[in-house]
């Protein structure tokens, strides 16, 4: 894999570490850290800080009796078998956290026009996260954002006004960026894209249809 140039910004790694990111952004951060040792080191540094602060917290001593009873309950369970939990592993271009969001199955692509396809992985009131498939050389319609958009390349590449993005790279676009990403000419570009607001397309897809496509 070529070295990554576009990483997750420090403040988003911190927000992930402390549990402050919506589900979609958390998925992009987890997917990028799965392939980026540098950002993994940043995350573990944030966790070192979190650990040091946890250690320095005043213990809740009003509940000593409660903790004693809980300790007894936990000690009694130590030999119980661990409950089975599904384990997801990387599959092809999809890192383990993406496979988890796909429930271990291959993506079910839905056409969006112009050969572009998507699979929505999660959508809630905090935003959405999807896989996008863009044919080589194809442009994603001009769009700007009400909020923040994080896009990680899983296969192929894309470029826009801000630069070129290859496998593992993450583009961070906020409300001020109006951009028209174009897929590279090699393999189709497959991206993991998360937003905390509906995208606003400038043309190509009538605004009225946006709720239908959920894009």
């Amino acid at each position: 894999m070529s070295p990554m140039i576009h990483h997750i910004p420090e403040h988003l790694i911190r927000a992930y570490a402390v549990g402050g990111l919506p589900q979609g952004f958390s998925l992009v951060v987890a997917a990028h850290i799965s392939v980026c040792d540098e950002c993994r080191a940043r995350l573990e540094t944030e966790e070192m800080a979190g650990g040091a602060i946890l250690e320095a917290l005043a213990p809740d001593t009003a509940t000593d009796g409660r903790d004693t009873a809980l300790l007894a309950a936990v000690m009694a369970e130590l030999d119980d078998p661990a409950p089975a939990e599904p384990v997801f592993v990387r599959s092809g271009i999809f890192p383990a956290p993406v496979m988890q969001a796909l429930d271990g199955r291959p993506p079910r692509w839905r056409p969006l026009g112009a050969g572009i396809r998507q699979t929505i992985l999660n959508s809630d009131r905090e935003g959405s996260v999807r896989l996008l498939f863009i044919p080589p050389g194809e442009a994603v319609p001009d769009h700007s954002h009400n909020g923040l958009e994080l896009t990680m390349v899983l296969q192929g590449s894309f470029h826009d006004e801000t630069g070129a993005f290859n496998v593992g790279d993450v583009e961070v676009a906020d409300g001020t960026l109006e951009h028209s990403p174009v897929a590279g000419t090699g393999a189709p570009c497959i991206c993991l894209a998360a937003t905390d607001a509906p995208l606003r397309f400038r043309r190509f897809l009538p605004r009225l249809l946006q709720p239908v496509f959920r894009i």
Partner: protein, 188 residues
């Protein structure tokens, strides 16, 4: 190894290693007695009390016992490792979907446990604790809010300017270096 305080791991990390290597129940009980009341404080900051907090603490501490084989003192202090587990479990409970977590970094058969790396990280972690102890009350309130408080990403403001910044960047450089060494191991 001599018994100079600087060359000994902090006691929480030593307990966790005893749990990992010897399935030491007394050491586990000490970990519980140290962390359970602190995790309780952490959960109370985001409005979880009573049995709702009990359930998470129980789950976190059972995970500590069951997953201790994954603990590597060259990459995390016991507190950092347990902080991560507590955060993950807390968010799993808040959201209907499991929290996305990065792939584990598996290193094949590292010949020797990295004792030097563990001590180096432990010393940085000690400095981090001291720096937190020296913060002004208002600064401390800000970082406690950011790392322990209500989970909202908009209010996790710029805290890099606090005196923790330098120590954190040293830890990061140490972990970066470790990563590169591990990468060499992985590609050999």
């Amino acid at each position: 190894m001599d018994n100079d305080a600087e060359s000994r791991l902090c006691e929480q990390t030593a307990w966790l290693i005893a749990v990992r290597d010897n399935r030491d129940r007394d050491a586990f009980a000490r970990l519980f007695e140290f962390y359970a009341p602190r995790i309780r404080t952490m959960l109370a900051r985001s409005g979880r009390f009573g049995t709702a907090a009990d359930d998470i603490i129980q789950d976190v501490m059972l995970r500590v016992w069951r997953k201790s084989a994954q603990f590597d003192p060259a990459r995390a202090s016991a507190s950092a490792w347990i902080y991560r587990i507590a955060r993950n479990r807390h968010i799993d409970v808040i959201r209907k979907d499991a929290r996305p977590v990065p792939e584990e970094l598996y290193i094949e058969n590292t010949a020797e446990p990295d004792a030097a790396g563990g001590l180096a990280l432990d010393q940085e972690s000690r400095r981090l604790r001291e720096a937190i102890g020296r913060l002004r009350p208002d600064q401390r309130a800000v970082i406690e809010q950011a790392y322990m408080g209500e989970l909202s990403h908009t209010e996790i403001s710029e805290i890099s300017g606090l005196p923790l910044g330098t120590i954190k960047s040293r830890i990061r450089l140490g972990l970066d270096k470790l990563r590169h060494e591990l990468k060499d191991l992985r590609t050999e």
